[in-house]
């Protein structure tokens, strides 16, 4: 999660780039292999960035852990929150 306040630039591609420049190294994105960071605008000024546009913050509807967090969130410098995927065997 990255605060929207980290966006910089007057054009859309500048603002997208300013977020991906922060997120993609953290996500280990290898653009040479066609990988990308995907930005989702979330409420309360947060940007959810992952390596897949299909990733979700919570377990999806119908999942045995429906509605529970998929990530363990850790605060990081720059008001970032780093999400580490929980193991499927972690306690709910």
């Amino acid at each position: 999660m990255i605060p929207e306040g980290r966006k910089a630039g007057s054009r859309m591609v500048d603002r997208v780039s300013s977020i991906l420049d922060v997120a993609e190294p953290l996500l280990g994105v290898d653009r040479g292999r066609g990988e990308r960071g995907y930005i989702r605008i979330q409420p309360h000024g947060r940007l959810f960035v992952t390596r897949s546009p299909a990733d979700t913050i919570l377990y999806p509807k119908g999942h045995p852990r429906d509605g529970q967090e998929r990530y363990l969130w850790t605060p990081a410098a720059g008001d970032l929150e780093l999400g580490f995927l929980k193991s499927e065997t972690d306690d709910a």
Binding site: V13, L20, R36, Y38, P53, L58
Partner: protein, 138 residues
């Protein structure tokens, strides 16, 4: 060539395995909606809250057959690239609408004019809190 920081023309519009070409217009929307409140002797809203978001998309193309061939209710991923104005590397923005549900296609044609069709999509969130509309750059 440096990116122009301006965008023009859609490319690579796909809905699942269906490629949509001859695109003349496209829209992706966050679909934000506001709920307002006022009471007592208020003349103006005292609360405005965003409690509903309904991301959606629409594309218009001359390829009437392809768009009309998509059945309403079909769910897949809708992807489109908004190109840099001069085709510079790194200047394009890619929109990905996950869980996009094809709503309808409306075709029209006038005498002595090219026909066109507008397809519309709504999207749902798998978990109810994650925005199905994602943005990245090429």
């Amino acid at each position: 060539m440096a990116a122009t920081r301006a965008n023009i023309n859609w490319a690579g519009v796909t809905f699942g395995s269906t490629s949509i070409s001859r695109v003349t217009s496209g829209v992706f929307s966050q679909g934000g909606k506001l709920l307002t409140f006022k009471g007592d002797v208020d003349l103006y809203n005292t609360v405005v809250a965003n409690v509903t978001n309904e991301p959606h998309a629409a594309f218009t193309t001359a390829d009437v057959g392809t768009m009309m061939g998509i059945a309403p209710g079909t769910t897949n991923t809708l992807t489109a690239t908004l190109n840099d104005a001069k085709g510079a590397t790194g200047g394009a923005v890619v929109f990905t609408l996950s869980n996009a549900v094809f709503e309808t296609a409306e075709a029209q044609a006038h005498h002595a004019q090219f026909g066109s069709v507008m397809g519309t999509w709504q999207a749902f969130s798998s978990d109810g809190v994650t925005n199905p509309l994602a943005i990245t750059r090429v």
